[in-house]
Symmetry: C2
Subunit: 526 residues, 2 copies
């Protein structure tokens, strides 16, 4: 995708006159910083724009549309492992990070409206300050990521609203031409259910702006969930692939029947180790990947299981919660080892959680931001993880894949075997999580972690990513989110999908300036 660099001077001057020169960053050092991801990238950042509200976003888009300036919207800028702030092709960053208003909070109907820059950490603080009885679904990503962007990227999290994309409404979208629409009933002045109803009336446009380059979402309403009056964390261990397969089938059945209403996570031994501390270079004479005997030795710390799992029960009463736990014991119990249940009940508030918020796993369940699991990103860095995590800055290599597999244990096991083999073939530990956020699929989350300061590491990680994507796709296991290097790597559609997407891009973005290369599968290439 080689494009001539546009003449920047004139559009940037015009944008500066509209949003203030102090909000148009062109300092080369800052741009180099913004253009660094957790893996090798080819594109670069042409400028860094910081609009203050949706009107300024619209103004920038209008100018860009006229002048051909490519723009790449970011919000928190914490898309670590998938591309951080780096655009697929050279572009100016349209950074929504200044847009941080939180309003329309409704304790009764469990909603709150946020601008695109509002982070998980901020929104949690807001709920604490309100002494709210509501929770936001936590992210496994950075607490400083944008909640709205995560929902639009179809990220996931903890609790009853873990499938985040299903719990947003009333999106305010600036189209690439500078026009503005609102989704659902919010397009009508004074609609009473504007923030409360999923669809509104007529065709629903929300999906167009999710994993998309068709518009910039500047605001939206998040649906929150009541904090449970009973919360149980169920941990279990799996020693063999056969146990894993049976446990996954049981978890699917529990999910389908409605006993489990929240996401389930299962982590392999490598992944568990990576969150506990850095790679034991001193014990391998600096060799990688981790030798099998060392893995087995470390694994012995938790009884030798290959996989550890965490499920949760959120209930409105102790009796409901206990009955669900009993049902889980009945269905899942026979297939797992070391099933343990830790439970709490009471009258929780955001400022008064049931479980200790310093315990990372328990924080996650209660919607409290925590960074512990992010320390895995530094697993291969000899110096380990610093206090302030910034893998872009620190050369901590991270590259994610997110393949989706039907919720059939045997099928998942074949895929996890593939993933582990391919990682090891490329000299990487297979750090792997299995995340079940809905009824009928599991998302596999292999995380390629490496030290970017080691020569050749970027290339090996990318080769591993590409091989894995290719092999999994050949089995039919397509990814549900894409890292930058995967944006054009999927097989072609068997139908007219590509043509439709290309025509939509041309219709909504005649100059092709908004996030070219982002989730367009090559359809937007001119």
């Amino acid at each position: 995708m080689s494009r001539p660099t546009p003449d920047l001077g004139s559009p940037l001057r015009e944008i500066a006159s509209r949003i203030g020169a102090e909000h148009v960053v062109t300092d080369p050092e800052a741009l180099a910083h913004a253009g660094r991801a957790t893996f090798g990238t080819e594109s670069r950042v042409l400028a860094w724009l910081h609009p203050g509200d949706a009107r300024e976003v619209a103004a920038i888009l209008t100018i860009a549309q006229r002048t051909g300036l490519p723009l790449y919207p970011i919000s928190g800028g914490k898309n670590w492992g998938l591309g951080s702030r780096v655009p697929p092709v050279p572009a100016a960053l349209l950074d929504l990070g200044r847009m941080r208003s939180i309003d329309h909070f409704d304790e009764e109907l469990a909603t709150v409206r946020v601008e695109a820059g509002v982070t998980f950490r901020e929104l949690h603080r807001y709920l604490v300050a309100k002494k709210s009885r509501l929770m936001l679904s936590s992210t496994g990503g950075s607490p400083d990521g944008s909640v709205l962007a995560n929902a639009l990227e179809r990220g996931d999290g903890s609790g009853p609203n873990g499938e985040r994309a299903l719990h947003v409404a009333a999106l305010e979208v600036v189209l690439p031409t500078g026009e503005v629409i609102h989704t659902g009933f919010d397009r009508f002045d004074g609609a009473s259910a504007a923030e409360l109803h999923r669809f509104g009336v007529g065709p629903a446009f929300d999906g167009l702006f999710s994993q998309s380059r068709l518009g910039v979402v500047t605001r939206g309403t998040l649906w929150l969930a009541p904090l449970p009056r009973y919360l149980a964390a169920l941990r279990f261990a799996l020693h063999t692939s056969a146990e894993l397969a049976r446990a996954l089938d049981a978890l699917r059945d529990l999910r389908l029947e409605g006993t489990l209403r929240t996401p389930v996570g299962i982590w392999n031994d490598y992944r568990v180790l990576s969150a506990a501390g850095r790679y034991p270079f001193e014990r391998t004479d600096g060799e990688t990947p981790l030798p099998a005997e060392l893995l087995a030795e470390q694994r012995a710390e938790w009884g030798g299981a290959r996989w550890l799992g965490l499920a949760s029960v959120y209930a409105a009463s102790e009796a409901q919660g206990r009955a669900s736990v009993a049902r889980i014991r009945e269905v899942l119990g026979p297939h797992v080892a070391q099933l343990s249940v830790e439970e709490r009940s009471g009258d929780p508030r955001a400022d008064r959680p049931l479980f200790d918020p310093e315990n990372p796993g328990r924080a996650f369940l209660q919607g409290i931001p925590h960074e512990q699991s992010l320390r895995s990103m530094y697993y291969r860095k000899p110096a380990g993880a610093p206090a302030d995590l910034d893998p872009d800055r620190d050369g901590a290599g991270v590259l994610w894949l997110c393949p989706v597999v039907p919720a059939r244990g045997s099928e998942v096991v074949v895929a996890t075997d593939d993933i582990e083999r391919i990682c090891l073939e490329h000299g990487l530990e297979p750090l792997l999580a299995i995340f079940g956020k809905s009824e009928r699929t599991f998302t596999l989350l292999p995380m390629l972690v490496f030290d970017r300061d080691v020569p050749g590491a970027d290339e090996r990680a990318l080769a591993c990513h590409d091989a894995m994507l290719r092999e999994l796709a050949a089995r039919g296991h397509l990814p549900e989110r894409l890292a930058l290097p995967a944006m054009e790597a999927l097989p072609s559609a068997r139908d007219d999908h590509g043509r439709l997407l290309a025509r939509l891009i041309e219709l909504l973005d005649p100059a092709g300036i908004l996030a070219p290369g982002r989730y367009d599968f090559g359809a937007g290439r001119r």
Copy 2:
């Protein structure tokens, strides 16, 4: 919306040569029959086309696109109360009723793929024949309606999958140009999660084809739910508006906290009476609407309550179900009268339901089609309801509205008062249901029922519909589905929504031939 009648001969001959002359109906009597709804309509049916598969649908669309023949897709043709088979502007019916294949049934993952013509009745029979442990969410509409069309129209039903539009995937869509796309992962050959994942990867197009004129959905996968091993029907009564308001608040809280996971219905006295038998003309000397004293007398049959409610608990074990019922008693109990719980448990199958399937309310809960509630359509017909219900044929007047109100009891009561007043002002009984299918809103379902054989009845009903739509919209309560006369009656959007929709129509349907006037809010008018 006056359009010149297109030259039909040539396109119809071409279509006949493609799909067979026997599948192109032009007999005036048949067309007059097809063009009759349950209220007065202005448009008419130009021809009645019966394609046999998606290829034939594509061929018809291609011919129509070239020749300018307007088409109006129908499936079951049972859109009673909202327009039956009648197009907003004169058009040939594109009847998908011959497309009835059911395949890809998966008991384990709870999915089944259907063509657009498959009805609720057929699919239930299919599950019975399979001795399946799965259920389809029932409809309150006709058992002979199309399941897929109901989902696309965002209809609702019973059980855990009651918000039907959230439980379909892998739509096969023929665009107005004859091109074909598949939603989600189904666009990829051999995608393992094609029918199992909600979004796929990249922008999600499903919403574009829901309540829409942008494409013809010919096939899709339905997500089923396991039949509950414990099922409870909870009935309650409400005597005053204050009780209604408090009960609605309690039901909302129970829904938000996850105790109630299925839709709740509340019916007013008029609506209950209308399902029990026809209007008592002999006791009023033929006068309408129903005198207050007669209403009070009939209401006494169930203890005098103004409203009757039904909630349900679906659980995987008796202990879970009982704990939820106890919680409902605690939260809802203090605000309602006559709270009764009827429960069953066991190992149900589609052919062996827990509750008597002849009890209409219990059939509904178990996914078993039943026509009892449809008898209300004949409330004002002196002859009452026949064995084979066909309100189009019988001049049974029915006109629905579907306004959405925030789930705040006090707000709902204001709206129900409005609705009851406006109905009575127009000489109609306010037959009213309140349906809670999601967490944050209630849908009000006033049903205008009249005898089309009474001179002036059509006009009075339409006037009532229009007044109600106007008054409710002025309070911000917009409808979530539209009857034919409402298609252009909503207020204008406050943003660029109309322009976007118009451009999408022009892009996807350059000749403007697909369902002109359907959910386009005037945007498609040329």
